[in-house]
Subunit: 407 residues, 2 copies
C-alpha cells in the first residue's frame, strides 16, 4: 500500500461487502479508517469463508488496514461516543461511510447538527431504501440470462459479487470528490448511493440499454463467445483450456497466423462475403472461425500452445481454477509486488494484496492486517475524543466500550 | 449528473472499456474531460453494438459528457499539440489518463519535461505491459470454473466485463487521490494500474486467496447457491423465476415464514444438528432447504409470489431478461432520477444513466451525450492552447486536426 491519502480520517459503520470494501480501499491508500463495531462483532463478523477456528477470512480480508473501536451502541452513551467520533473536528476529518439505516441516532440531520460540513455516504439496497443484495440486483438487470451455454434457458448467477465491489469503489470516488469540493467551498454533502442504481447505471454505460432501445433488440446470450468481436475458449490436447481473443487487428492476425489458417480464413471471408478486418464481421462468423482454429489447439498440449501463442503475440489467458491460481501462478505470489505474505493475528499468514494502483512518488509499504475487534478502542477514545484514562476506564466498566480482550 | 468536480480538467487518450469508463465517470461528476482521437476515430470507434448506420452504441455510451478533439497524431505537429494539451498549465489541469503504450511521444519522462507535476494514469493489460483483456484476465483468476451448473466442468465466461469496469473506477480513484496529494504537496505522480492486478487484488480482498491458503481448499462451485449463506433461484408456476436470499436473520426468518416451512425447517435443523441462526449452517443445508421451499413457489404465479414476498419483507429479486428490464421495469425508466431520455446526435434518443452517486448539495442535471468526433477541436485549441483562428485554420489545412464535419 501507499500513503497518498495520509492524514485523511474516515469513520465507517458497515457490514457485508460494498461499504467495507470502500473503506478498505481508502485505508490501503493511506487514509485512517476507523471502523466501529458492536462489542462482539456485527452481522458479518463470522461470515464464510471461515477458518477451523471460525475466524472469518471474508471479514478480515475486507477490513485490512482499518482501526477498530468496539462500542455497545444499543446504549445511549455508546451512541453519543460514536456521534462525537463521526463528527469530530478537523479539515481532514468529518467523513463517514455507512450502509446501516440512516435513521435514529444515525439520522443525517442529527449528525449534521454537530458538524454541518460532514461528508456522509449512505449506501442502501435500492433507492427507496429497501434491502437488495448483489444477487438480487444481478437477477434483476438481466445478466444471468446472458451467462452460460448457448442452448440453455436457465439463468446462471455470478459467483463474483461485482455490484458490491463496484459500489465499494464508487463510495471511495464519492468521498474523494466530496472532500475536494469541501476543501474548495467549505460545504459538506450527504451522499446517497443505491446498489440497484450502481448496476442499472453500469448496464447503461456499457450500451446494453441503448442497444435494446435503439436497435429494438436486447443482447442475446453468446455463450463463451465475446460479443461483437472474436474470442472463445479452446481445449488443448491435455484438456487444459485457453481463452483467445482477437479484438485489435494485430491480435486477430496473430490468431490466424499461429493456427496456420490464413487460406481457410480467406476462403471463409469470401464465402460469407465478410471483411474480417472488421471486428463485427469476425463476430458474425464466430462459430465457423472457432471450428477452423480448434484443431490446432486439439493437436497440442497446453505447454506447446502457451509457447506458440506467446511467441505469436496472441492475446490469450489460461483457464485456471482458484487452486491453480494460488498455487501455480507466479502473478499470484510475492513475485508480484501487489502481494505480501503477512500475518493476520488469530488467522495465520497468507498472501495479501494491496491496491493495484501504484503511485510513482510514494514508497510501497506492505498491506496491513485487519484489526482485532476493539484493538484501537482506547487509542481512539484518547487521541480523537481527548478522553483521559479514568473516563475510558469507566466506559469499559459500564460495558459501553470494549478492547480486544473481550472478543 | 452533478458538477462536484467542476473545474478539474482531464485529458484522455484511450480505447476499449476501462480507461474510457474512468474518464466518463469523472465527466459525469462534472470534470472537463477532453478525449483525443485520431482523425476518423480510433480502434474502438465502431465497436459493437452498432446501429443500422454503424454508429457504436458502445463508444457513445462510454464517452458521454466528454469533449472531443480529433488530431492526426501520426504527424509530429499533431503530437506536439497533444503534448501541449496534456501538459497545459493550471492547478486544475495536468491530469492525463491513457491505456495507449506510454512510449515514444507519450513517454512519461518526455511529458514530465513539459510539466513536472503531471498526474498521469497508465493502464496496461498485465503489469509487464503485455496485452490482457477482461476475458483473458477472468479465465486466469478462476471464476469461470466457479460459474454455472453444479455438475459441469466447463468454464463459463462472464458476459459482463467486470474487471474493465472496476479498473475504470480505480482510475477515477487514483486521479482524485493524486490530485488531492498534489494540491497539498505540489508533487505529481505517474500512476500505473494493470488489469490483471485489478482482478488479482479483488480475489484477495474477497477472501478467495486466504481461503485457499489458510483452509487448504479453494472455493468450489456452488451453482446458483450463494456461498456461505442461504440463497437460490426459485421457479414459479408460470416459469418466471425469483432470486431469494436470507443473509441476515430477519431475511432468513422471512423466507421460512412466507413459505410456511417453520415446522419442517425446525425438524431439519434437529435432524442435521445445525443451527440455522448461523448463516454457515444454512449454507451447509442449502439443498435440503431449497427442496423445502420450492413447492411454495411452484404453486404460485410470479405475481402472487411477488406480493407475498414483498409483504413478508423477504430480500428477493426477479429474474429478468435485458429486454424485460428495459421495457417493463420502472427502475429502468425516467421514473428513476438516475435516468434521462436524451438525444445522442447521429444515434437517436434513448435512456441514459448518470452516475449512481447523488450529492445532496448540488443540483442534478441530465447526463450529456457523447461528443461528435472532433466536435470541440477548435474550441479546445483556442481556449486551452490559446491559438488564434489563422493558426487553427492552418492546422485544418495541413490535416493535423479535424472538426466534426470530417467524420
Amino acid at each position: 500500500m501507499q500513503q497518498i491519502l495520509n492524514g485523511l480520517r474516515i469513520v465507517e459503520g458497515s457490514a457485508f461487502i460494498a461499504a467495507p470494501s470502500g473503506g478498505m480501499t481508502l485505508a490501503q491508500l493511506g487514509a485512517e479508517v476507523i471502523r466501529f463495531d458492536q462489542i462482539g462483532g456485527g452481522i458479518d463478523y463470522q461470515r464464510w469463508p471461515v477458518t477451523k477456528e471460525c475466524k472469518s477470512l471474508y471479514w478480515h480480508s475486507l477490513n485490512k488496514g482499518k482501526r477498530s473501536i468496539a462500542v455497545d451502541f444499543r446504549k445511549p452513551k455508546g451512541r453519543e461516543i460514536l456521534t462525537r467520533l463521526i463528527t469530530a473536528p478537523g479539515e481532514n476529518a468529518g467523513l463517514f461511510v455507512t450502509n446501516f439505516p440512516a435513521r435514529g441516532w444515525l439520522d443525517d440531520q442529527k449528525l449534521r447538527e454537530k458538524r454541518d460540513d460532514l461528508i456522509s455516504v449512505n449506501l442502501t439496497g435500492d433507492r427507496h431504501g429497501a434491502s437488495a443484495l448483489d444477487y438480487t440486483v444481478n437477477s434483476q438487470i438481466g445478466l444471468p440470462y446472458l451467462t452460460g451455454p448457448l442452448k440453455s434457458d436457465e439463468p446462471i448467477n455470478n459467483p463474483f459479487p461485482a455490484w458490491d465491489v463496484l459500489a465499494g469503489q464508487q463510495i471511495a470516488i464519492a468521498l474523494l470528490a466530496a472532500e475536494r469540493y469541501r476543501r474548495l467551498t467549505g460545504q459538506g454533502q450527504l451522499i446517497k448511493l443505491a446498489l440497484t442504481d450502481v448496476a442499472l447505471a453500469t448496464m447503461g454505460h456499457l450500451g446494453f440499454i441503448a442497444e435494446t432501445e435503439v436497435n429494438g433488440e436486447a443482447r442475446q446470450s453468446t455463450g463463451n463467445y465475446i460479443f461483437g468481436t472474436f474470442g472463445h475458449d479452446f481445449v488443448c490436447k491435455d484438456r487444459y483450456r485457453v481463452m483467445v481473443v482477437g479484438v485489435s487487428l494485430n491480435q486477430w492476425n496473430a490468431i490466424v497466423s499461429v493456427t496456420n489458417c490464413q487460406t481457410q480464413v480467406l476462403a471463409l471471408e469470401r464465402e460469407l462475403d465478410l471483411d474480417f478486418k472488421q471486428e463485427g464481421d469476425r463476430f458474425l462468423a464466430r462459430e465457423r472461425l472457432k471450428a477452423l482454429f480448434q484443431p490446432w489447439f486439439e493437436e497440442r498440449s497446453f505447454k506447446e500452445v502457451k509457447v506458440a501463442l506467446d511467441k505469436a503475440h496472441v492475446c490469450w489467458g489460461p483457464y485456471q481454477t482458484v487452486d491453480e491460481l494460488v498455487h501455480k501462478d507466479p502473478e499470484c505470489s510475492e513475485a508480484n509486488p501487489l502481494f505480501n505474505r503477512i500475518k493476520q493475528p488469530g488467522v495465520g499468514s497468507y498472501l495479501v494484496p494491496s491496491q493495484p494502483i501504484h503511485f510513482s512518488n510514494l514508497d510501497r509499504v506492505p498491506p496491513k492486517p485487519a484489526p482485532l475487534l476493539g484493538q484501537h478502542t482506547d487509542q481512539i477514545l484518547s487521541e480523537v475524543l481527548d478522553m483521559d484514562s479514568s473516563e475510558i476506564g469507566r466506559l469499559h466498566d459500564d460495558g459501553v466500550v470494549a478492547g480486544p480482550s473481550n472478543n
